[in-house]
Each structure stands twice: as C-alpha cells, then as structure tokens.
C-alpha cells in the first residue's frame, strides 16, 4: 500500500492541474491580502465599530469559503482520475499483476491523495490565518488555540470527505464523467445550504427539508460550516447578523451529532464501496 500511496502523491504533485491550482491558490491569497489591506486603509473609520466587525466577519468568511472551494476543486481534479485514469490507460496491468491486493491499491491511492490534500489544506489554512494576523483581522487575532486546532481539524476533513466520494466515482466511472459528477455533487451541497437558508427565512419547513435532503446527498458544506462556526462563533452584532442570516448558506444552527455521524458513515461508506466495487471488477 505504501508504494501505491507514495506514487499517487508524487504523481499528483507533478500534475499540471496541481501546479496550476497551486498558482491560483497563491494568487487568491495575494488577492485576499489586498482586500484586507484595502479594508484596513480605506474602510470606515474606527467610529463605526459595528460595521468594522461585520466587514471583518465577511472577509474572513469569504476567505474561508473560497479557500474551501479551491481545496475541494483540487481534491476532485486529483481524485477523479486516481483509479479511472490507470484503468483507461492500461497502466494498472503492470501494478495489479504484482503482489498488491486490490484493497491495498484503492486505499493506497486514497492515502496518497488524502495526505496531499491534507498538506494543501493545512498550508492554505495557515496562510489564511497568518495573513489575517498580519493585517490585524480581529476575527483571526481573537481566536484561541483550541479554536485554531478544532477549526483546522474540521477544515481538512472537508477535502477528505470529498475524496472518499471521488475515489468511489473513480472506481466506477471514467475520469471526465466522474470529475463532472463530483463537481455537481459538491455544488449541490452548497445549493442545499442556500435552500435551507431560504426555507428558514421564509419559514417554510418543506423548503428546509429539501435543503437538508440535498445536504444529505452532499454533506461537505455541513462539514465546512462546522469549521466556519468554530472560527467565526456568533458574538457581537456582526456575528449575530451573519449567523442570523446563516452566513452565505445554512440554517444558522449547528449540525447535530447525528449529522456528524452520518457524514462519517457517508465518507467511510463510499470508501468501502470503492474497495468493494474494485475488488470485483475485471481489469481488461
């Protein structure tokens, strides 16, 4: 399993898509730093503390949300072809004819990509916090160590959950259809959050249920929202406003323990399904 994981990691790092997305990430961080700089230099005066607090929450939320999207996009792009590309090219023949079990192969691929996405997410997360500190962003400078660590744990779990589903897709579908389907499912989660928010605002329980149903299909946003909740706890008017409006998406209520359990079952379930599926297929 270790040689497979190492090769998956090294191969992903060498892929053009990873290099391009890394450059995009750097550009995004630069842009975020520019936004923070503008906020500090040209934002409302210190007299308008409520607006300043709101603006700080908004840019922090924006920073986290877009970074999460980048992270998930990278995970999908790398994971979509993890197995499917080797099946399509026939490269897998020389691998699976060696003393390598199919379970080892799938888990090796997953492990390699999981390590890479975790490193990527950690670097991105650290960069966001460091840039926030550099610009004295109040939402970042006031974070406790526990918040930083818990937020980090939840933040890196998002791409891991996406990866589980993508690896399953890679064992079942060809590269391009899998990538497109995973992006659709990821977006569906965000739409689910919005639908839930709209349902809450309009007081429609059926709309809320629809949103929850979409979140069950794609629970990644729920996981992200939990990370965001840790990093941006409701406090003060700005936090209440954002939370009351559910941020960009969501109900404003924290996910239940049952939902976290569901997400765990969802992620490991799809990984187990990927193994099960791959153990049965003929490598033609």
């Amino acid at each position: 399993m270790i040689p497979i994981a190492q090769a998956a990691l090294k191969e992903s790092v060498r892929k053009k898509t990873f290099i391009v997305l890394s450059i995009v990430t750097v550009l995004y961080l630069v842009l975020w730093a520019v936004i923070l700089y503008c906020l500090r230099c040209y934002g409302p005066g210190s007299g308008d503390t409520e607006f300043n607090a709101l603006a700080a929450v908004m840019v922090t939320q924006m920073g986290l949300q877009f970074s999460s999207m980048l992270m998930c996009l990278l995970t999908i792009i790398l994971g979509a072809g993890a197995i499917a590309s080797e099946l399509e090219t026939g490269m897998i023949h020389a691998i699976l004819s060696r003393p390598v079990g199919r379970t080892q192969y799938v888990l090796g691929k997953f492990a390699g990509l999981a390590v890479l996405t975790a490193i990527y997410a950690t670097v991105l997360y650290a960069a966001l916090l460091l840039i926030g500190c550099a610009f004295s962003l109040v939402t970042v400078t006031t974070l406790s160590f526990e918040q930083v660590v818990t937020g980090w744990c939840l933040y890196i779990l998002v791409p891991q959950a996406v990866l589980c589903l993508t690896v399953y897709g890679s064992a079942k579908l060809r590269v391009v259809p899998n990538g497109l389907l995973m992006i659709f499912i990821y977006i569906l989660g965000n739409i689910g959050g919005m639908v839930e928010m709209i349902g809450n605002l309009t007081g429609s329980s059926s709309v809320v249920s629809t949103g929850i149903f979409l979140s069950l299909i794609s629970p990644f946003h729920t996981l992200y929202a939990a990370a965001e909740r840790i990093l941006l706890p409701s406090g003060g008017l700005a936090g209440e406003m954002m939370r009351g409006l559910s941020g960009l998406t969501g109900s404003g209520r924290p996910a239940s323990a049952a939902m976290y359990f569901y997400i765990g079952v969802y992620a490991f379930g799809f990984l187990a399904l990927a193994v099960r599926r791959f153990r049965k297929i003929d490598i033609n």
């Binding site: 270790i2 040689p3 497979i4 190492q6 090769a7 090294k10 191969e11 060498r14 090219t89 026939g90 490269m91 023949h93 020389a94 691998i95 699976l96 004819s97 060696r98 003393p99 390598v100 079990g101 049965k280 003929d282 490598i283 033609n284």
Partner: protein
C-alpha cells in the same frame, strides 16, 4: 506443474471469451500461447495473473489458486499494453516495482536487470522520453525484478526492431537456462517457433491444438527421396503400404511422400533397400509453425 488450469472459462454477458481451457505448464518450459486476434489469449493471461476473474473453472499458478497474491511474489508479467508512469525515471520505475514486489531496494539488482534488457545508462531519464521499444524493455526489466519463477510475456516484442527481438529471444532462452518458466503470447510465429518447446493454439476461446513443439512440427513430415528410378512393382508396393493421405508422387529419380509419422521414414528406406533400389538422399522436411497454425485455424473456420 507450475501452471495448471481446468476448464477455465470467461464470459462477458452473452459473449464467451475463453471456453473451458485446460493448460499444463511444467517448470522450465517455454510455453507458447498462440491464436488469432480476439481468440482469448490476453483474457487467459489476465485470468492467470489475477487481473480478470474466471466465470467458471479453476487453476493454480505456482502452487496457489488463481488470483492468490502470494503467487505473484515470484511471478513476472509484461503486459501487452505496456504503459508506465511517464513522470518517473527508469530508476524510479524499477524502485516502484521493487516496492510492489515487496523487495528491498537494491541498486545492484536494478543494474543487473537494466543490463539484461539493454537499458544500462538510461535509468536516469524519464520513462515518458523513452521510445516504445525502450518502454517495452523497461517493462521487461520490471517483470524480471523478483527473479521470477514464472514469467508471462504478452507480445513482448511488439514494439521492438529486429535487433531488439533477437535480444528478447536471447533473454528468454537465457532465463530458461536459469530455470525460469516462460509463458509467451506472441503473434510472431517464427519467434515462438525459435524459442518455445511447448505450444497451445487457441481459437474462438478454445484450445484447438497443443503439445510439444517438436511433435507438432513433426506431426506431418514431407519426405523427399532421391533414388534410382522406381520399377513399377516397387511403386505399387509403396502405394499399398501408404494410404492416400501420404499422396506419394514420383518422378524420375525422386519420390515425395507426406508422412504422418516419422517412424515411416525407416520403413521407406527398408522398402527401397529390400528391392535393391539405390538410395542417394532421404530428407525429411518439418512443417513450420506457421503452416500448422494456419491449418489449425483454417480447420476451425471451416467447422
């Protein structure tokens, strides 16, 4: 037996790819596996290497059931579709496969296999920059890493030039001397004829002919005899002795017969000698593998 199958079959939906194949390969043999395109050769090899699951039947490779991972520790396989990680260097690829074989990295082993396949000095270059022939050679080098007891070669010379083909033939023969059993799938019948000691011909998913190469090629011997002109009574005896399938033909001072059995050769010699016919030359001509193959496949098409 180092490899044995019993009624091994594979079907895809309604299509039978391999139908009840029985193979027996002994240690140290070079076993040729022949057949036209789509006959089921690669599917059979994939079942033997654990890539494809049989629909029915069973088999064992290196004393373990088909698909058993432990058998693959001493099993080499060069696939027909030799695609490798192009971003790796030749050395990286060897180290990667060393890991897959659960072996310790050993630069000396790498050097040895590279030298054997004629790629010494190329290991620092990326596989993506290799020619097709070089990629096939590095694939063979990877297959040789565990000093395999059993080596599956699926069209191992498809991308090689004549010199490369000769090199691979030499490698195969050298490996046999070292005790490696080789299962060779190739379209190049002359290549198979040159190296294999046993052959199975497969058509439409079934083995239609198999046996030792010398037996297959000597199954029907064309015998050319140069002798004194045959008197009428001797010619009559020859016609009586050999049935019509021998299609004896005579010209002044020569006689040609298609014999089913090489044991008929001394019979002819004795017959001529007993009639005091001067015998100048007696030459048996073996069939070529190509003629045997075409005949067997042709019979299958007519059936």
């Amino acid at each position: 037996m180092i490899l044995e199958t019993e009624n091994l079959s594979k079907s895809y939906q309604n299509k039978v790819a391999v139908n009840s194949i029985n193979l027996s390969v002994e240690k140290g043999q070079i076993y040729g596996f022949l057949g036209p395109n789509g006959a089921g050769k690669s599917t059979t090899i994939k079942m033997l290497t654990g890539l494809v699951f049989p629909t029915s039947g069973k088999g064992q490779v290196l004393g373990r059931p088909l698909g058993d991972i432990r058998a693959r520790i001493r099993l080499g396989y060069l696939p027909e579709l030799f695609r490798f990680q192009e971003w790796m260097t030749g050395e990286d690829l060897l180290n990667f496969h060393t890991g897959l074989f659960r072996l310790r990295r050993d630069p000396e082993r790498n050097r040895r296999v590279l030298n054997r396949v004629g790629l010494s000095g190329q290991e620092k270059y990326k596989v993506g920059g290799y020619s097709k022939g070089m990629q096939q050679r590095i694939g063979l080098a990877c297959a040789l890493l565990p000093d395999p007891e059993l080596l599956f070669l699926d069209e191992p010379t498809s991308a090689l030039d004549p010199v490369g083909r000769k090199d691979v033939r030499d490698i195969i023969l050298a490996l046999q001397k070292e005790g490696t059993t080789i299962f060779l799938n190739s379209h190049l019948l002359s290549e198979v004829e040159a190296v294999c000691d046993h052959v199975a011909i497969i058509n439409k998913g079934s083995v239609v002919k198999s046996g030792a190469m010398k037996d297959l090629l000597m199954e029907r011997v064309t015998l050319s005899v140069r002798c004194a002109p045959l008197p009428r009574e001797v010619w009559r005896v020859i016609l009586e002795t050999f049935d019509g399938s021998a299609t004896p033909q005579r010209e002044d001072g020569s006689l040609t017969l298609a014999l089913k059995d090489t044991e008929d050769i001394p019979v002819i010699a004795a017959l001529l000698a007993s009639h005091n016919i001067k015998l100048y030359e007696l030459t048996p001509h073996r069939e070529t593998l190509e003629s045997v193959f075409l005949k067997v496949i042709g019979e299958g098409e007519q059936a």
